[in-house]
Subunit: 196 residues, 4 copies
DNA sequence: CATGAATGAGATTTCATTCAT
DNA sequence: CATGAATGAAATCTCATTCAT
């Protein structure tokens, strides 16, 4: 009795996700180039060949991981671009970033690593560059709306803070980094600037 | 013939430096794993075998690059830990960091990339972790000396700013990033906090 | 229920033929080694597994294709070995060869390709070698019957002409090759030799 | 003491030729797809990797073999297009073809096999198609010069004879095929046509 | 010390075949 | 009988490292 195509689809989706998770873990912990297809297959408990049912190549697997990560992020960020008061936007921006990282630090670790190293695939650059540009413009507008002096420079600083914070959080782990306190401090500072 | 031996040493040192520079360039621009020994040899205009006269392995070459980079940095930073007024320390810290990057962006690019990816060699972690710890403590003490409230949190924020700034500067290039304005803005902010 | 069993057999035969046709097409157009079982299954609109219900292996499938092709040919050729006048035999030989190719160029394309490349399977050699020998002898006898001088050499030449013609016809296609004119010319030549 | 670059070149050329010869032998005897790089390396008495010093890929190796073969052929054929009497041209054409095959049957075996099977590489088609066209035109002109009736058809027939002859000679081997007699017979026939 | 040819372990990839459902 | 997910052997290819000259 043949399985229905739905059953197949389900099995396929499960396997795909399982492989992605395993690969994400290994890529993030050991680096893309130091992780072999063999390792991923072994860790996932499947044969090497099975991996190629789901992904055309190691590169394609990486792309799938990136896309999945970006999907999550894009979704979360969209909320922020909606109509809320500027100060809430700022707070949302910062807290959402932190929440995303804490929710899925592996994806972020990998993402940052790929951006930093000159990975041949264009995927990362294509994704990160426009995102960053959008972010900078967003910050600029936000600070202008908040009537904070030197909104452009302040935007650059916030971008630096967020990226630096992300790096530290990811590579130290939330157990060793007082995110909450740092975030609150940053936000307090902006609040005090607005009140004035 | 001690003279000859010295000359030999000098020539050897020159060759070593030439290889290091070439390798640094390639590692930074293309990534460590995507750069082969063949490439380095060809780019440096020497034979593959010659490279192994100077370095035991690809890993050893990387280590030499890192050590050279760290040497420069350590030297520059030492000045800051000497007896100068806190505010000058802060300014020195920020400006020295930027100056170091602008002076040798390739080393930094590579350094950051290696730190981010989980390079098997322990070199980077061994070097970066204590440095970061020292930095954090240094910032903490500095802000305390400056009587700035919440010196610990402020220290974390400054660390984040510096790392974020470094990242942006390195990956965008100084032509596309208004370092000077951003740095001045950051320093002005601390100055205003002190005056109060 | 013998009826059912018969119906089964018929359905089975239909499926088999469908697969054979699909595989023949792909093998001929893309080559045996460059055509995967997956491709055949997909092109035939069945699952990979199903293919193995009908054929034990890729090799077995190839064998079935060859046998089917040979069946057709053998049947057509048999007629020629019957009792007809030598000149009609000659004409029949040539025209039948051309007709067979025009009727089923794919089979021939594949056949020739397999004969030329040293396919590991013995099938082709087992089939082609005796056929060729029989052909040569047949030609020899024919030309002797026709009282044409040097019947043996003439036999070799005719064999060469037929194989060369077949090759050109198959690889250029009948639209780009003036078969009719060439065949008539060849036959005319033999006719003029006989009349003399 | 480093070898001079000339010495290196020499060694390199020798190795390259050795590999080409080994690969040609195996490709011709077993087929391109049924011959693995491992086999070639083992047969040549070298390591797999060495092969990739000389050829970028299996395909590239094949290309080198083809080019070498074509080089020989082109050179030999050029002579024929020069100014000699038509009948000598014809004889030269036929005898040169046979001589080339007898001199290097492996190359020809491989060449024919590749032309017949639909090898993905365009190399063969690019080479063979124009060659064939040139050949056909050459024959046509030759028969016209010889005042032989139906020169075009006769050209097609000669092309068929030559290709058929080549096939038979190559796949039976000169020990089992009376080339000399067949060739003489063919030429005699043309001579008798001219005299008339 | 210099050279680049050669090695060989290991990486990625392919694909005929099997098998649980 | 049908399905396509999974296997695993083998193929192609890469590249840090060694070594004869």
């Amino acid at each position: 009795m043949p399985r229905t195509s739905e059953q197949f689809k389900e099995v396929r989706e499960k396997s795909k996700e399982h492989i992605i998770k395993t690969a994400l873990y290994l890529f993030a912990e050991r680096g893309f180039y130091s992780t072999s297809i063999s390792m991923i297959a072994k860790e996932a408990g499947i044969a090497k060949g099975a991996l190629y049912h789901y992904f055309d190549s190691k590169e394609d697997l990486l792309k799938a991981i990136i896309e999945m990560g970006m999907g999550k992020m894009g979704h979360a960020m969209e909320v922020l671009f909606s109509n809320v008061a500027p100060m809430e936007k700022l707070e949302g921006m910062v807290r959402t970033t932190v929440a995303l990282i804490e929710d899925d630090p592996l994806t972020w670790k990998l993402m940052i690593a790929l951006t930093m190293q000159q990975h041949p695939s264009e995927t990362m650059k294509e994704i990160v560059a426009p995102l960053e540009k959008k972010g900078t413009e967003f910050f600029f507008q936000m600070f202008k709306d908040l009537n904070i002096p030197h909104p452009e420079e302040e935007g650059y600083v916030l971008a630096a803070i967020l990226d630096g914070l992300a790096m530290h959080l990811i590579f130290k782990g939330e157990d060793h980094y007082p995110v909450e306190r740092v975030v609150n401090h940053v936000l307090d500072r902006y609040r005090s600037m607005v009140k004035k």
